[in-house]
């Protein structure tokens, strides 16, 4: 494999990792606060639709992004209402949101654009196009490093950079700020937080707003960043993979980055391995190659990564006796 081919492979890994990363970080805020989120898929789907629809109507990617964040946050607030105020089952709430997004995006899309939920294809200026970083022209002449800079680092859309920036920011928020300290306490021992005079409900709401915003970014990336329109159910299980990545990473931001990059890498490797012929065996069934990322994940999980200990209070509604 040539150096360029490797760069291409990594470049593709990055693009495939981004929606997982954004959704995974979204889940991180929610689950660190003690609220299980299996509705990442639905929020992403809703956001993807909102972004594509708004961008198609207004011609502005930024308005699309705002719409995505708005819709996803609104969905997150439904989740908050159900799982914080009403002490509902967080898993059912997530499942409900997934179905809600599935149905609503198609019904509204069909009503507005008459294409069965599919939104009009956006031109490059109506979505987030690739950004050329400074000095690309100069770097192109530098061997190895320059190529790496041009191919791998530069030329992504803004949401990619936002996603990668969100990792250190999350790590910083989580471990260096008051909000992060309380957030972590909230997922571990909400009663301790309560006795320290902090409202657990309010804090969980704040966390779920952040979750909504990040899921909005993830959805927007799918439909107006990497993609150019909305297609029904276009998230295709990415929300669930993001959830898996989050657990794999043991709810840690840097770990999540590594996991998402690994998932992205395996997914893009899989594409390139299709049609592989092995000496003696002949062509490997394409399904075996397609299953490879998932099988490897299972193997890695069983072999290398130790037990994932979730935040202790996760999934339980906080009930304050009065």
């Amino acid at each position: 494999m040539s150096y360029t081919a490797i760069l291409f492979l990594l470049d593709s890994s990055v693009r495939l990792a981004v929606p997982l990363l954004l959704a995974g970080l979204a889940g991180l805020y929610s689950e660190r606060a003690g609220v299980v989120d299996i509705g990442l898929e639905g929020k992403m789907l809703g956001a993807a639709f909102a972004a594509a629809a708004a961008a198609a109507v207004t011609g502005s990617a930024w308005i699309g992004l705002l719409a995505a964040i708005g819709v996803s946050t609104a969905m997150s607030m439904i989740h908050a209402l159900a799982s914080i105020n009403m002490r509902g089952n967080q898993i059912i709430s997530g499942v409900a949101l997934n179905f809600l997004a599935l149905g609503t995006t198609i019904v509204l899309g069909d009503a507005w654009f008459k294409r069965g939920g599919i939104t009009p294809t956006l031109s490059l200026d109506q979505r987030f196009g690739p950004i050329e970083l400074p000095f690309v022209a100069e770097a192109a002449n530098v061997p190895i490093i320059g190529e790496l800079y041009v191919q791998l680092i530069s030329g992504h859309n803004i949401l990619v950079y936002v996603a990668f920036l969100a990792v250190p920011v999350t790590a910083w928020v989580l471990f260096k700020t008051r909000f992060g300290l309380r957030l972590r306490a909230c997922g571990e021992n909400p009663t301790a937080l309560d006795t320290a005079g902090i409202s657990v409900y309010f804090l969980r709401y704040k966390a779920l707003v952040v979750t909504g915003v990040l899921c909005g970014l993830a959805g927007a990336y799918l439909s107006i960043g990497q993609g150019a329109n909305f297609t029904d159910n276009m998230t295709a299980g990415r929300g669930f993979i993001a959830l898996a990545a989050l657990i794999f990473a043991k709810w840690r931001p840097w770990g999540l980055l590594n996991t998402c990059l690994l998932f992205g890498f395996l997914a893009s490797l899989q594409i390139r391995l299709q049609g592989l012929e092995l000496p003696g065996i002949g062509q490997v069934p394409v399904q075996a190659i397609q299953a490879l990322p998932y099988i490897l994940t299972v193997v890695l999980l069983a072999g290398l990564v130790g037990r994932a200990i979730p935040p202790k209070a996760i999934g339980q509604p906080y009930i304050k006796e009065r």
Binding site: M86, A288, Q290, L301
Partner: protein, 383 residues
């Protein structure tokens, strides 16, 4: 002052769910209104479609049969504290039982039934027990592993159906069961059910409901499963082997998931096609949790979803502007209001019941405390 009362059992078990379903329909009705149709008419069609005539009932029961299996699968695992998100994949792989059914196709339907049931349960059990084993022995989180196994199942079955068991000239599907081998439909002896696909597998679903109930609350294994689910430390203290309970429970859960293959693939489609499960496994998650992981709850939730699936299709047919996707929205609302927001009316009802029944306690203290009469429903609403 808001001391918590214990509401009467009938309120928590019947009134509250009824209010929630009603609310879900009101909101769903608003959606119908928004697209310019009459909500009342829509509800009427939906109810009639699901329960109004024999064939409707038959379809409702047929779908409910699938949901009983997937719902029980999720519920049983959850009793052991395991979140089996992989029912979809387990049911999918179990579909290969149809191939075994084809092998005994020419003998008698009862042989097909027994063979496919055993094979489907075994395949589902294996597909679920591997994640169980990995969780128990290697600490791999069951949620990730079962999600991954759904994807692996999709790839595996794609290979099986396209490259191994495909009928030549057809598109990735197996041969069709011969008439001799087909499972009897209920309508063959109960014409009431019209042309509906509900078949004898429904009796297996009823048996599964009773069996799971008995297993969980009336056997030693069930006791151990619940101890593990409620307090893993207590399980270790009690000498209950978490490893074996996890593997056994997951295998049983997968076996229940596998039964979808008997009902859907063997009983109705009579052949195995790509993606035959069609989301029953994921709906099973909602069914299980709405049913509070209790067989009676699972039965009720499964009937509710069966009715929504059938009534929704009817609605789609009778009111062309109500698309099948709108029906999905209505289902989502039902899940949301009856599942996730099921406690919504509790505070209001508690206030209502406090006012309705003043404390009969003797007034000793000068300031009478809000002391509630011990209501009949001491156990609350189950877990």
């Amino acid at each position: 002052m808001s001391a918590r009362t214990e509401l009467p059992r009938w309120v928590t078990l019947a009134l509250m769910p009824a209010l929630n379903v009603a609310l879900a329909f009101v909101i769903g009705g608003l959606v119908v209104l928004a697209i310019g149709e009459s909500p009342l008419e829509a509800i009427q069609i939906l109810m009639f479609g699901a329960f109004g005539y024999g064939e409707g009932w038959g379809f409702t029961l047929h779908f409910a049969t699938n949901f009983v299996f997937t719902g029980l699968a999720v519920a049983l695992a959850y009793q052991a504290g395991l979140f089996n998100i992989g029912v979809e994949g387990q049911a999918y792989v179990a579909g290969l039982a149809l191939v075994a059914g084809l092998a005994v196709d020419q003998i008698h339907w009862s042989v097909v039934l027994i063979t496919t049931t055993l094979v489907a349960m075994a395949l589902g059990a294996i597909w679920a027990a591997i994640p169980g084993y990995l969780q128990a022995k290697r600490g791999s989180h069951i949620v990730i592993t079962t999600i991954m196994f759904n994807f692996i199942a999709a790839a595996f079955m794609s290979y099986m159906l396209t490259q191994v068991f495909s009928r030549p000239g057809a598109n990735s599907e197996t041969e069709t069961l011969d008439a001799i081998g087909r499972l009897p439909l209920l309508r063959e002896f109960m014409p009431f059910f019209g042309r509906s696909p509900v078949n004898i597998t429904i009796f297996l679903a009823i048996a599964a409901l009773i069996g799971v109930y008995y297993l969980i609350w009336h056997t030693k294994l069930g006791f151990k499963i619940r101890v593990l689910g409620q307090n893993p430390n207590a399980a270790r203290y009690a000498g209950i082997s978490a490893v074996s309970i996890i593997i056994i429970t997951m295998a049983l859960s997968g076996a229940l998931a596998g039964m979808v293959a008997v009902n859907e693939a063997v009983g109705v489609q009579k052949r195995l096609i790509i993606g035959y499960v069609g989301g029953y496994g994921f709906v099973g998650i909602a069914v299980a949790f709405m049913g509070r992981s209790h067989p009676v709850g699972v039965l009720l939730a499964a009937l509710l979803f069966g009715a929504l699936f059938q009534g929704g299709q009817e609605l789609n047919f009778e009111m062309p502007s109500v698309s099948s996707d709108l029906v999905v929205i209505i289902q989502a609302l039902v899940i949301l209001f009856t599942g996730a927001m099921s406690e919504m009316f509790r505070p209001a009802l508690e206030r209502l019941f406090i006012r309705a029944k003043p404390p009969p306690e003797k007034a000793v203290a000068p300031a009478p405390p809000a002391n509630q009469p011990k209501s009949s429903g001491e156990q609350g609403s189950g877990q």
